[in-house]
Subunit: 362 residues, 4 copies
């Protein structure tokens, strides 16, 4: 059944397969009067775009976004926004080798079981190429949040295999192809990736996403909590296997006296909670972390079966990222932005306004 | 705005505060003909119920559930089911001490900011007491899954502070008040809890939830993926700060050649994925882990402010669990059951049937 | 699947059968701070209540509503509101005569086919008794609309069989048991009903519902238009077979030059549109009309079949209204109020505010 | 907020303005394996297309639909379907005369009040041009219903101004540009339209839509009833002011003994109900009627105001239908098909199957 939409008041619905005619999305519920243009959207698409470094897939798609509707004279009209990216690089590749087999670790098997059929060209709908439209929609949410509430969202690579960022410097993030905030470890990271590529293997990653200047009061208990919706949005990114808010799993061995963020007239004394209390934003930074599995598209041979149940060996050829986690940074930012914007509108629906500065505390 | 519902085809909506007249829920979309009675529901409510051991709050509520509608002659009719638990233990307690202050680590501050008001009696709607109705609704989902697909769901405490279950024996889980599967460490756990209680402090916990015999094909890409919906449901439980599916954060340092679960004609050779590939169930066990923060209701004094911005010291008196994670076991099971059942109905809507045995494999 | 909810931001979900333990509803999304109490709700319930005149069913239920949650110190808290009416008049009636047969014109046959089972006691879930909860929820919407926007909603009986109101006097509506606004025809109406009752037959009705002071800008094109949502809500009332907005079917023979409501600086020159243009409220009165079929619960014998396909004769005994349309007046008001309130919140979510006075015009 | 989607399991979301770059839609939830191609969709688009007769607008758009995603090797894959129609006829017309004024009877005023802005080119989003995508989506629903359940849907013009079809012959419908089923009155209709055009005025219309072979059991009481959802979908068509199911407003003066459709072992003896009882399909023909207002785009001068509140006179120039009701026939069919398909999937979700032949009866 229907499952390609996210959001309640600000709702994003996508279509498109890796090797179909086009990718597209409808953004429904964006308030009128927001300044939006294709160049703004393109900027983030280019951050996600493959082929930007030697460590991401060499598929070269211009990923040129077109605004088809919903924007008039440079501003949103309040009606639904249509976006499209045509697939230009549809190499007439021969897929006969994977057409009937299930690549281990991929969605081949589950799509086949669910639908009884699948578009096997480049992974079809299960391809991460689909996320381009999430990034595009996310730009609109980011712009809204920035223009209306001053919210800023930063994503970065916090770990890749054994390499862990320790000195987090936000100004470094966009200075390297890894979205990596720790300059002192860039060389180590680069070496690790080079060796990995030679082996034809892949690696997992941990990303962190921080939203600053988040209004207080976002989130609808008891099920549509802000943190629950963030978890939904982030876990829904291809390859994500885990989500943390604030201290995440570290809370297992924390004491209540240590974890609770005490409050002073000047503000909270710490942010173990990651900006959410009782499912509602507290006005502190919203902090989330996610883990992305290593891609299964590797040249190391593996065992699997074909759709007749026969055992076969598989080797994934073609253009693939050794670490899909890297390019997921703008995707994660986009998903967080979409959730925050949706909850801003929900809170406005409830109260008529969203607190733009943290009340009481200050 | 509305936020107290979960699920699309099988939808649970709840109401109720800690010290209100009653808690209740409406379960909408349960297929007709399912055998349900109050005793079945009561059994799981009693597992969650406070006052069952010296390590959980001593508030004694019978938590007696009543079926008000939707069941006729012992079976569901297909119309909406109404459940209610009356609050009998509404001690006429004096709340004047916390009425105007925000307990750190609680939802007091965020509820006040969101709503401009709050029911301060026992935490009001933000109290974990609300989860009783989730457990009740979960029983119906569990029964459906068991009766129709043979699904079994087991939750257990996998870590509590420094104590970690190592030998997982499912038969132990219901033999101790901690839902702890490792008999060899029960004494250590007991001692830790005793010491903690003496200190008036609290501790976090890690829970694991496993669903066996899950049909293949559940989940709706790209946003309503099974894992995304599980993350949403589990992160929506009070105090949860993190969710993992399968290997979770461990994937950060896994290689693709190690992580991908190879397939043989007899089945998958491993289950790093935790039963979900591309957002769709693979027929393997669905495995999830969650982290619950230590409760902030402790007798260790803390700094906070009142609603006028003035600094005050807070000490939470009353009946509280030193580890809220323990009693969350049946809640987590319930939430997983609700998501799985919803996706069973969604898959049935799409295909007319849900695969009852894993096809192709084996 | 789930189908017992209405509304997006202001969402009402109901449960309950004619002869079950209780009827109830959850009202989710009501903003905090609204003054609500049981007496307010009771007032409208009493308007709908059976047994108030000799022309409505003689079943005597006190229909005493209880607020179970969501209201604290006389005001809504912003969390979900739980309401309940216990069924006290559950006569241990013998239903064996209709248990296996399908009363013509009733939902017996369709419920049986849909669910494979049905609660045959008094119509179960298909009984109009279920609408008591709609009236209760509608009171909350009415109060919100009145307190925030000055909206007033009036429903009345405009036709009953051959008797048609011609001089519409709103002040008459609550002065007679028919909600009939034309005093000059009351006697005719009374006589018609007396004769009808003697025959054991029933009659259809036309109701009109008018909302005054509706804010401009409500409604979400292109599918969730205000008029489309009103049509949905009104057609969803038991026995309703038709819905008109404004001039309704009369437009078939109108010219464009006659129908279009011209605009002057002082306002619109007419209201053929019934207050909705392009699916959005214009600030004029929202006017709707509905037709309710004659109830099939009559003592005139009829032909039908039982669940084995055998032909049988049916005579409905018991307490029934000769015209179910009459008591539907408060139900129709409630449904209109629910839709208007939902759209007020939706508009507030979009724009941050709802226009409280018609701009530009005047 | 979001409002451009219809349907729960089979969900259609649209974008596009009259004079934007393109119109498009996403069809989410279509089961896999359905044979679909552009030619099928084009056929119905051509039925709706302007310029097909001298009584519909002379704007000539090829309205060429493209399938962008969701169909592979001629069949749906189960993932979201993307459709697009590029706007080729975007005459660089001068809109300065209507840019700042509100045409009476149009959505100009309400869009301006709701959004604070509007795309004034050809009505923008409020243009009936948007309905092209509904027709396109409707074809997919029609195909599903036909291929799976043998459902056939026929729409026709039953009244236009004073001209009323009396001898309904379904085979005539596609033989004339009016979708008019009564050959004996075609000349009268033609003459009426010719005179009307000369006057520069417009006229209303009544359409009838019949679905045959509808499975029994569709519809979800108590709010998502089949008839309520049909009313929502049909009232949501541009210019529609009224909806009837079965006998509609005629029930006001019917007796219960006359209205109730008696049941015989061979079937129902009549169909006053229009195929819906208690909100659930009975297996009889689903019959609906709608009224469409006369378009306000006429050359007869009218009074209105501009956005500064100043009185002005308006004359609508350009290409317009004297009766928009005519071309609404395929739109109404499409909307009915979308609702029926959605409810087929919902019923399948509930019961695992949809009854393909009427059980018990016959």
């Amino acid at each position: 059944m229907a499952g390609n939409s996210i959001g309640q008041l600000f709702r994003v619905t996508t279509f498109g397969e890796s090797h179909g005619v086009a990718l597209g999305c409808i953004i429904d519920g964006c308030p009128p009067g927001l300044e939006i243009n294709e160049a703004m959207i393109q900027k983030d698409l280019d951050r996600r775009r493959p082929g930007t470094s030697r460590y991401t897939t060499q598929r070269r798609e211009p990923d040129q976004v077109k605004i088809l509707a919903g924007v008039f004279e440079g501003k949103t009209t309040g009606t639904s926004i249509g976006l499209m990216i045509e697939n230009t690089d549809q190499r007439s590749k021969d897929y006969s080798n994977i057409k009937d087999m299930f690549r281990p670790g991929h969605a081949d098997y589950t799509y086949h079981q669910k639908y009884g059929t699948r578009d096997y060209r480049g992974g079809g709908r299960s391809s991460a190429r689909e996320t381009a439209m999430r990034v595009a929609a996310g730009v609109i949410a980011k712009e809204y949040l920035k223009q209306h509430h001053g919210v800023e969202i930063h994503g970065y690579l916090s770990e890749l295999g054994p390499v862990k960022a320790e000195n987090i410097d936000f100004s470094q993030i966009e200075q390297n192809p890894f979205f990596f905030p720790d300059e002192s470890k860039l060389e180590e990271l680069d070496e690790f990736m080079r060796a990995l590529k030679k082996e034809g293997d892949s690696i997992g990653a941990r990303l962190s996403i921080v939203a600053k200047q988040v209004p207080v009061g976002l989130g609808e208990p008891v099920f549509d909590r802000l943190d629950a919706d963030i978890a939904h949005a982030l876990m829904g990114i291809n390859a994500v296997k885990a989500v943390e808010i604030g201290d995440g799993f570290a809370v297992v061995n924390q004491r209540g006296s240590e974890h609770r963020d005490e409050m002073m007239p000047e503000g909270f004394s710490s942010n173990h909670a990651g900006g959410v209390l009782g499912g509602i934003s507290s006005g502190q930074d919203v902090v989330a972390h996610i883990a992305l599995k290593p891609t299964s598209s590797i040249t190391v041979p593996g065992q699997t079966i074909d759709k007749y149940g026969k055992p076969v060996e598989v080797v994934t050829k073609g253009r693939h990222d050794p670490c899909v986690g890297i390019r997921a940074v703008p995707i994660a930012e986009a998903m967080l932005a979409i959730v925050l914007m949706d909850h801003c509108l929900r809170q406005r629906g409830q109260n008529g306004a969203v607190a733009t500065e943290t009340p009481i505390l200050r």
